[in-house]
Amino acid sequence: MATYTVNNKMGGSQQNIGTSAKTVLTVTSQTTGNRRARIFEINCGADGTPADNPLTYDVIRCTSIGTGGTNIVPPALDTADAVAIMVATGNQTGEPSVTSTAVMLTVPLNQRATYRWVASPGNEFVIPATNVNGFAFRCLSPVYASTVIFDVMWTE
């Protein structure tokens, strides 16, 4: 199984977050040659001017990639591995279709803090082998209105 990584600094222009959930990155299964992927590490944090503001990051299942995003080719951790089957799209301007009851991880965080989550084997987020099905990585804040970064790693 190959391992890949992507973050929303790798393509497109970062979009400012606001008071409603703003998707900064999606990782979804592609339309053909579907197979499952397992997300085992997520890192997130704000990259704007430091201040003490509350942010809420979340990871939610999605069934589309949104609009206005930039397709990012995820590099493999081992350069000998093939190109990823999963599709990474970053810095969307239009929100993807999400499954509102499927919020997989919610992290309330101070703007000055960063969060890292790592899954042990067998406890990863699983992307089904279903067309354009995957996860959206979002953030919102009642005060902070600049950019954030999500960094995601998975195996497929």
Partner: protein, 85 residues
């Protein structure tokens, strides 16, 4: 916790805060396990699939492992694709 399903760490100017997590066997959601948490507050154990589940899945009852849900999702998608959609 013994055999944690995951690990989370918050890094801030005030220091580092770590916690264990586990992934719900029924819905694949991550549950944060605070130190010395009351087990009833963080979900439960499904005695059919013998894995930890989140509080929402405890209240729902029943046992549909997430692997089964994946199969159902993928089967539906395969059927739709075979119809030409």
């Amino acid at each position: 916790m013994r055999r944690a399903g995951g690990y989370g760490v918050i890094t801030s100017p005030d220091g580092v805060e770590e916690h264990d997590t586990f992934t719900c066997a029924h819905c694949n959601r991550v549950v944060v396990v605070p130190v010395r948490a009351d087990p009833s507050d963080i979900g439960g154990m499904c005695y059919q699939c013998m894995r930890l589940v989140c509080p929402d899945c405890v209240s729902q009852g029943g046992c549909t492992p997430f692997e089964r849900k994946l199969e159902l999702m993928e089967r539906r998608a395969d059927a739709l694709r075979s119809y030409g959609e």
